[in-house]
């Protein structure tokens, strides 16, 4: 099967790049997020059905599936972003390092500081580049300008944007190109020093060159962060992720090592989807 061969090729390319950089044994997977029997509802409509999954620390986990399959909804339950939407409810547990994030004593503000998020559409605030990146630390109470400058520089460097903007930090963030804006949003998310970075189709609105830069960036970031990414691009999932989960109509159909999922899927639906028979 040629499609599966091409996926295999992509995964192998990544693993080769990785083995050069990896400084820890491949097999020691630490569980960062542990979701058990999660059901989620928008009003009366159920969007997720009994989803159970673990997310490995310092690895990239990709969610794939057709539009409306619940992958974005699931992603947003991981930092309680769905709380903003009126009329949503859930049952089941989501554990971040063993701690229930929906427990009554958990402050959602503190949770979101640890679990950062990057959205599909880049949403820079209509402020300067500096103020965009410094926003997270500022709202968390950091007032010292020198400390803020340091955080901004660090975050922009990590997001591979520093060299392009270091001379114009006070310019409006809206003047940046689409790809730069998205990397700015990643830098902004990194500035709060999260453990987990959730990315909702971060490259879907970008041109191929910017997409490849963002993918390289994700590859770099996973040395230090746990990354969960929603993508509708299966090649992208194969290129960047260690784990891939396939969602369909609100159910988690299958989650496995990316290579296994793309080459020897256990479920018929997964195989049909990745070979392009539907979706």
């Amino acid at each position: 099967m040629t499609i599966m061969q091409s996926f295999t090729e992509l995964v192998h390319q990544r693993q080769q790049r990785e083995s050069a950089k990896r400084n820890r044994p491949v097999e020691t997977e630490v569980t960062k997020l542990d979701v058990r029997n999660l059901n989620f509802f928008y009003g009366e409509k159920q969007a997720l059905f009994d989803v159970s999954m673990t997310v490995a620390e310092r690895a990239v986990t990709a969610f794939i599936g057709p539009s409306g399959c619940g992958k974005s909804t699931f992603l947003r339950t991981l930092n309680r972003m769905n709380d903003i939407i009126e009329g949503t409810r859930h049952n089941g547990t989501v554990l971040l390092e063993g701690q229930e994030i929906y427990a009554p004593d958990v402050d959602v503000v503190a949770l979101r500081k640890r679990v950062g998020m990057v959205f599909q559409k880049s949403t820079p605030f209509p402020k300067s580049i500096f103020d965009n990146v410094a926003y997270g630390p500022k709202v968390a109470g950091q007032r010292n300008h020198r400390a803020l400058s340091e955080i901004v520089e660090q975050s922009l460097k990590r997001a591979a944007l520093w060299d392009e903007v270091k001379d114009r930090l006070q310019d409006s963030a809206l003047a940046l190109s689409g790809g730069q804006q998205q990397r700015l949003c990643i830098a902004r998310a990194l500035a709060t020093n999260p453990d987990v970075l959730l990315m909702d189709e971060p490259a879907s609105a970008l041109d191929p060159a910017s997409t490849s830069r963002v993918e390289d960036l994700i590859f770099e970031l996973k040395q230090n962060y746990t990354i969960v990414i929603v993508t509708h691009n299966m090649q992208q999932a194969a290129r960047i992720s260690d784990w891939t989960a396939f969602f369909y109509q609100g159910y988690l159909i299958e989650k496995d090592h990316t290579l296994k999922l793309f080459t020897t899927p256990k479920k018929k639906q997964t195989e049909d989807y990745i070979t392009g028979r539907f979706g």
Partner: protein, 357 residues
């Protein structure tokens, strides 16, 4: 030969004619307003710059030559620096200008916090529900209530204070600030503050609705992004939503204030004076504020007049000169309103350029 017949359509020429006629009709509607404004400005402007020909020249032949020399036109620098007078050629609008200025400042001070506060509550905090719908419908209706109705309310609530304080007692509420005291008469009677509060009631619905629209125009992705970075709701509103909505809010506020500035009826009903020979707080120019800062605190409780009232009073006057004075007053009022609207437009344009989502 077959090609031209293919391109033929029934009644095509007629359809084009109808289209053209409609275009001209729309064009005519547009120019109707422009022409009316032009005629108005020309006639008022002409009046404002000339005195009427003296009819009774032989009766007092000694004085006119002197007067004409001293004020060449109703709209002169002297017009801005004198109070109203029984002698039309010496009358000015100093009291009215300061009265209107004070009104606008006080109305802005009252209506912006209350209006923006309600808008933020309705848009950002309150849940969708029946109560919100009721409030919303009420706001839209209140925005359309005639000003004279608000004037009646202002009369009862501020001028008379529901009759709680009988007037002959002359009650004074002395408010002790740390460094000075302010005498507040109760009830407010015909003071500036009564007029300002009444006009605040008048413009509040407009301010609230305009602010709500400005807040609604802030994309929800900005709020979501702010929450995702660990900001609380208050921080999101304070640092993202309100700054982004500010141009829209400012535009709405300025337009509402310019409406308040032109209102004569409510002020007339609450009994603002028409013949005033002093300014609120005795402040006649900016340097007076530094000479006597206490005047700033006294001013809201002084009796006052305002531009529209002054104009109305002059127009009602039988002497022809006063009509020209009124024209001069209208020019001043129109200029101020035009300036305010210009500021609103400039703000809107400036921020439209800098924030495109």
């Amino acid at each position: 030969m077959s090609v031209p017949t293919k391109l033929q359509e029934p009644h095509l020429a007629r359809r084009h004619r109808i289209g053209k006629a409609f275009e001209w009709a729309c064009c005519g509607s547009t120019w109707f307003g422009v022409v009316v404004l032009g005629v108005l400005l020309l006639s008022v402007g002409w009046k404002a710059l000339t005195w009427p020909p003296a009819k009774d020249k032989p009766a007092n032949s000694s004085t006119p030559t002197v007067e004409v020399k001293s004020t060449s036109a109703p709209l002169s620098t002297k017009f801005f620096s004198s109070y109203d007078s029984r002698k039309p050629r010496e009358a000015g609008i100093l009291a009215a200008i300061w009265g209107s200025l004070w009104l606008i400042v006080l109305v802005a001070l009252f209506s912006v916090p209350i209006g923006v506060g309600s808008a933020v509550y309705l848009e950002e905090y309150s849940n969708e529900g029946r109560l919100k719908r009721i409030i919303q419908v009420n706001l839209s209706n209140l925005a359309g209530v005639p000003s004279i109705v608000y004037a009646l309310l202002g009369m009862t609530a501020f001028v008379k204070m529901f009759g709680f304080f009988t007037k002959d007692e002359g009650k004074l509420l002395v408010i002790n600030l740390l460094f000075t005291t302010v005498d507040v008469p109760l009830p407010f009677d015909r003071a500036l503050i009564s007029g300002a509060l009444t006009l605040t009631l008048l413009v509040l619905p407009t301010v609230i609705v305009a602010s709500q629209e400005a807040l609604r125009a802030v994309p929800s992705s900005i709020r979501t992004a702010s929450y995702a970075l660990g900001a609380t709701q208050w921080q999101t509103i304070r640092y993202q939503v309100i700054p982004a909505a500010m141009p829209g809010i400012m535009t709405g506020v300025i337009l509402a204030l310019s409406r308040a500035m032109g209102e004569a009826a409510p002020l007339m009903l609450i009994g603002a004076l028409t013949y005033v020979a002093y300014t609120p707080g005795d402040i006649t120019n900016v340097s007076d504020i530094f000479k006597n800062p206490h005047g700033l605190l006294d001013a809201p409780f002084d009796k006052f007049t305002a531009l529209p009232l002054q104009i109305y009073q002059w127009i009602n006057h039988p002497r022809a000169e006063y009509a020209h004075l009124a024209a001069a007053g209208i020019m001043v009022l129109l200029t101020i309103l035009l300036l305010m609207n210009t500021v609103a437009i400039v703000i809107r344009h400036k921020f439209q350029k800098s924030t495109r989502w």
